[in-house]
Amino acid sequence: MKPRYLAYIILLLLIMPSFAHAEEKIRAAVAANYIQTMKELAVEFEAGTGIKVEATFTSSGNLYSQIIHGAPYDIFLSADEDRPNRLYQEGLAEEPFIYAIGKVVLWSAKKDFCKTGDWHEALKRESVKKIALANPDIAPYGMAAMRAMKDTQSREALQGKLVIAQDIAQAFQYASSEAVDAGFCALSATLTDAGKKGCFFMVAQAPPVVQAACVLKGKNRPAVSRFALFLISSEAEVIKKKYGYR
């Protein structure tokens, strides 16, 4: 290829993103427990309004730190109330609202894992060598699971078995690929196709995970407000229910 043509191609490649900016879209920072739900919500919202929602998924703590450092998100769907509240108090976000309440479960890819007993007895079995937990410092679901372990006095006994994942989706992936024997996951994960292949215990001692969202300061375009309203609408409710959220 002649260098001249190569130069043209490179130039074209560099110009291309300006097309992508033309259509209206929303950038959402979304906690990892909400991946499947968010994907369905985005499809539904786009079908209704023609507005595209592009989501970035990772732990709430990770997203929070990105937002503090100026990440260009329009809306933040956290897996806790604390982080959106902090952003609000720091003047970085509009007033938070609750969009979902999730539950912590203990999930295993092995069907006979959940046949007897309850979750903390199951974890103490000899055969259970590794348990996935989302990093409690940055993942609210991991923190809720940690609290349940403390409440049942099983934390010390399990300490050596815990494998720390970066977020709740990774904890589920570890459990699903059987890299670990079981993992603390979100109830929503058990309702996906992959999740239905295994079994789970409810972790009753873990407090319900109250998830709040906030529109970020200065990003309050009509499209974004519309999406915020959509999150708590009855159309969204149907999808949320499907994944076990209240």
Partner: protein, 218 residues
């Protein structure tokens, strides 16, 4: 398969390669031909990203480029926007981290040039700058090409630094490596497999090219 992350990767690699090929040549020249105090200290400093974990580089870049950092504040006063979590931000990070990979092959190529050629050029009245463009560059083309390919591959392969500096914003900073990581995390193994499969032959062919270029030098 979502092609946008591959496109972002490609764009990042092209930008990094273009910037570094231009930027590293004079640097390599300075380090090969000029004598100045503190030269080895500067060289070690430039090569530091090669030896440090990406998280260390990521940490420093995030602090420097953030809204409270020196570079971040300068950038904001100039453009009004943030540098972190943008394409330009990851391009800057990529340039810093790939610099050693451009510098080493170029320096090696420059040092292999027969000094008599250069002396002849000076005797014939060429200035240092003219000699750089008319003697040094043409005689080390394969070294420069090897440097460009290495930088290209290194930026295609970057992950840790990009996730720290860029987050994972679709169409902007979500490169193929990050998209693959996320696809695995959300158990979308088909997507992860397809995207990985795209990267393997590209990297392999480019590495073959580097080998060929290196052999031609002798």
């Amino acid at each position: 398969m979502d092609l946008i992350p591959l496109y972002v990767s490609l764009k990042l690699s092209i930008v990094t390669t273009a910037v570094l090929t231009v930027l590293a040549a004079p640097l390599a020249y300075g380090l090969s031909f000029l004598k100045f105090p503190g030269k080895s200290f500067i060289e070690a400093l430039i090569n530091l990203p090669m030896a440090l974990p990406p998280t260390v580089m990521g940490f420093y870049l995030v602090t420097m480029m953030g809204p409270k950092g020196v570079v971040g504040r300068m950038w904001e006063s100039m453009t009004g926007g943030s540098l972190l979590f943008t394409f330009l931000g990851i391009a800057a990070a990529s340039v810093v981290c790939s610099l050693p990979f451009a510098l080493q092959p170029m320096k090696a190529a420059f040092q292999k040039i027969d000094r008599r050629l250069l002396e002849n050029a000076y005797v014939l009245g060429l200035s240092r700058t003219e000699a750089f463009f008319r003697v040094i560059i043409p005689n080390s083309i394969s070294g420069i090409a090897a440097a460009a390919i290495l930088v290209f591959l290194h930026s295609m392969g970057a992950f840790g630094i990009l996730i720290m500096v860029g987050g994972s914003i679709p169409g902007e900073t979500k490169v193929a490596a990050i998209a693959i990581y996320e696809a695995v995390e959300s158990m979308n193994y088909r997507e992860a497999g397809l995207m990985s499969l795209c990267l393997v032959p590209v990297s392999y062919i480019f590495l073959l090219l580097v080998n060929k270029l290196n052999r031609e030098e002798f």
